[in-house]
């Protein structure tokens, strides 16, 4: 496994060791080894069906691995329930928005923040009466440009705003490691920039894994990259290096240059 040469010490926050998943005869994930370093901006790319979302589902505990280990900050989380992993700081977003359709951005974030800060099972005080919760919620609403729609029902929001909420929710969980599954997928071009800006401004101590097809975004955002093909890791390294790697080019476009690599 290549570890990137970073300025600060490359402490590994999330790692998959020989992770595999079989569905009957289908090998969805094959002996994947992946190390995410602290402060990573790690892109995970690969053709459709390469098993990227499956890998995310394995890492977050939605799927049980057939073999292998997952470690979060040195702790073995292979058999841990999904909600417990979130408590430890491993958070994800979904490729297709998974929101609470009858709530509003305000109530959604209030609730998620309350849950994170330990007030989730409090049944006596109404939602939104704790100062710390209110402050954090306000921060997030502003950071994600949701203040103007904060009291609109989620199901009535535009797709771009919904996507912003999707990511805001994950931030509300105070992630240490954030897995973004195609954050700009389906977002109309008018709202893309807002979203990209927000993603670029995410705190630097949050380690981010980004699944993306958009190579522009990958090259402008990622410092590390892993290429996944047919459920197995093809190669890993810095995006600039991999762009010229013939194996990668072949997988994507059959020996032509990857679009965007000229920028590098």
């Amino acid at each position: 496994m290549n570890t990137t040469q970073a300025q600060t010490s490359p402490q590994v926050v999330l790692s998959a060791k020989d992770l595999s998943k079989h569905f009957g005869g289908i090998k969805a994930t094959q002996n994947v080894n992946l190390d995410i370093v602290h402060g990573a901006r790690h892109a995970l790319i690969g053709p459709n069906g390469a098993g990227k979302t499956t890998l995310i589902n394995l890492l977050t505990g939605v799927l049980e691995p057939s073999s292998g280990r997952i470690e979060l900050m040195g702790q073995d989380i292979t058999n841990m329930a999904p909600d417990q992993r979130v408590q430890l700081g491993l958070v994800r977003t979904f490729q297709i928005n998974q929101l609470f359709s009858t709530l509003t951005p305000l109530t959604t974030l209030l609730w998620v923040v309350s849950n994170k800060k330990g007030f989730g099972s409090k049944w006596w005080s109404p939602l939104g009466t704790h100062g710390a919760v209110l402050e954090r919620c306000n921060e997030l609403l502003e950071q994600f440009h949701l203040s103007d729609v904060s009291n609109q029902r989620v199901s009535t929001l535009s797709y771009g705003k919904q996507r912003l909420l999707e990511i805001a929710m994950s931030l509300a969980c105070e992630p240490k490691v954030l897995l973004l599954d195609e954050p700009v997928a389906g977002v109309p071009s008018g709202e893309r920039d807002e979203l990209l800006q927000t993603v670029a401004q995410l705190p630097s101590d949050v380690s981010i894994v980004l699944i993306e097809h958009d190579m522009d975004l990958v090259f402008s955002f990622a410092k590390q990259m892993t290429v996944l093909v047919n459920g197995a890791v093809l190669c890993s390294g810095e995006p600039q290096d991999l762009a010229h790697d013939p194996r990668v080019r072949e997988v994507y476009l059959g020996s032509t240059q990857i679009a965007g690599a000229e920028h590098v």
């Binding site: 977050t60 939605v62 329930a81 999904p82 909600d83 417990q84 979130v86 408590q87 958070v91 994800r92 979904f94 998974q98 929101l99 609470f100 359709s101 009858t102 709530l103 509003t104 305000l106 109530t107 209030l110 609730w111 998620v112 309350s114 849950n115 994170k116 007030f119 989730g120 099972s121 409090k122 049944w123 006596w124 005080s125 109404p126 939602l127 939104g128 009466t129 209110l134 402050e135 919620c137 306000n138 609403l141 203040s147 904060s150 009291n151 929710m169 994950s170 509300a172 969980c173």
Partner: protein, 320 residues
């Protein structure tokens, strides 16, 4: 700090609206306003409480249960048998029944955690049918098909006797119903309550933001069972009688229907539905029993075909 708009919105969410004050006052006043229909008021209060308990799991958590009568029936028989064999004090009886229903609910909650809507439907229905059979078979204890007779309660706090006019009974039931309503209202506005809505809207996402969905469901199911048991206990205590039909599928379907009439997911729907249902039932069922079932069926079919959501949306606009 929090933007002014948002602070206003939070205050608005948590405030007791004027119409709520009106409704609550009306409820508390009803045993006195309608003293000549005390028996009816009593029944409505008990049924409303039962409906509110179902709303917690159906409206707020999204669990479709066809067997909530299991806990209602347990409450009825447990309260009746307890007062006959152990202690006729009503308050003690209520506490014992609520506690035992809570435990029963916790145990049964294990059955609803896994599986699809159909599986849940099945196991909840199964539990209520088991209850029915048990009550039927344990004849010595329950009176079997003849029902449990002769439940005589001691006066409440040693002072207020249950009399034939049902005046004390109606005040008793209404008071408890309102207290529970206030408690549940508090519950659904808290982070705990919002967690339920999150589970209903998207349990996958709820899990993905760190909520232990199974835990939450178990707790709310147990609370709901406890309240359903409470309403059953009230029935036994105020009418002095228990019969097998408290476990029947009809009961579960009726209370679901009430919620649908009044609107799921806003608590007062249980109250509204109970009032409307009971009033119509007392009018129609005296004509012929068959007619009653037919009209309910037709109402359900039309309601669903035209879209429950439209009615719910309208209510959401009104009650906000």
């Amino acid at each position: 700090m929090m933007g002014p708009n948002n602070m206003l919105e939070i205050k608005r969410l948590n405030r007791t609206k004027i119409w709520e004050w009106v409704v609550l006052s009306l409820m508390l006043a009803s045993p006195f306003l309608f003293a000549e229909r005390a028996m009816m008021i009593n029944e409505i209060a008990i049924t409303a409480l039962f409906a509110i308990s179902l709303d917690l799991i159906l409206g707020y958590s999204g669990i479709v249960s066809l067997g909530h009568a299991a806990f209602f029936g347990w409450g009825v028989y447990a309260a009746g048998i307890f007062s006959k064999l152990v202690n006729p004090d009503p308050i003690v009886g209520l506490i014992v029944v609520m506690g035992s229903s809570l435990v029963l609910g916790l145990i049964c909650s294990l059955t609803i955690l896994r599986g699809s809507d159909l599986t849940r439907l099945m196991v909840t229905l199964g539990v209520s049918l088991i209850g029915l059979e048990l009550a039927n078979q344990l004849r010595d204890l329950t009176g079997g098909a003849d029902g449990l007779q002769g439940v005589v309660m001691a006066p409440i706090f040693g002072v207020f006797e249950f009399d034939l006019s049902a005046k004390v009974a109606s005040i008793y039931s209404v008071l408890i119903c309102v207290l529970v309503l206030l408690f549940v209202r508090r519950l659904v506005r808290s982070p705990f309550g919002f967690g339920l809505v999150a589970i209903r809207d998207n349990s996958l996402r709820a899990r993905a933001v760190g909520l232990n969905v199974s835990h939450r469901l178990m707790v709310i199911y147990a609370i709901s069972a406890s309240l359903a048991g409470l309403s059953g206990a009230l029935l036994a205590q105020t009418t002095g009688f228990a019969s097998l039909d408290v476990f029947s599928f009809d009961r579960s379907a009726d209370v679901m229907l009430m919620l649908v009439i009044g609107g799921v997911g806003w608590l007062y729907g249980g109250v509204l539905g109970a009032v409307v249902f009971k009033l119509i039932q007392s009018q129609l069922s005296s004509i012929t029993p068959q007619y009653w079932m037919f009209w309910i069926g037709l109402f359900l079919v039309i309601l669903v075909l035209t879209g429950r959501d439209r009615i719910k949306e309208w209510f959401a606009g009104v009650s906000a």
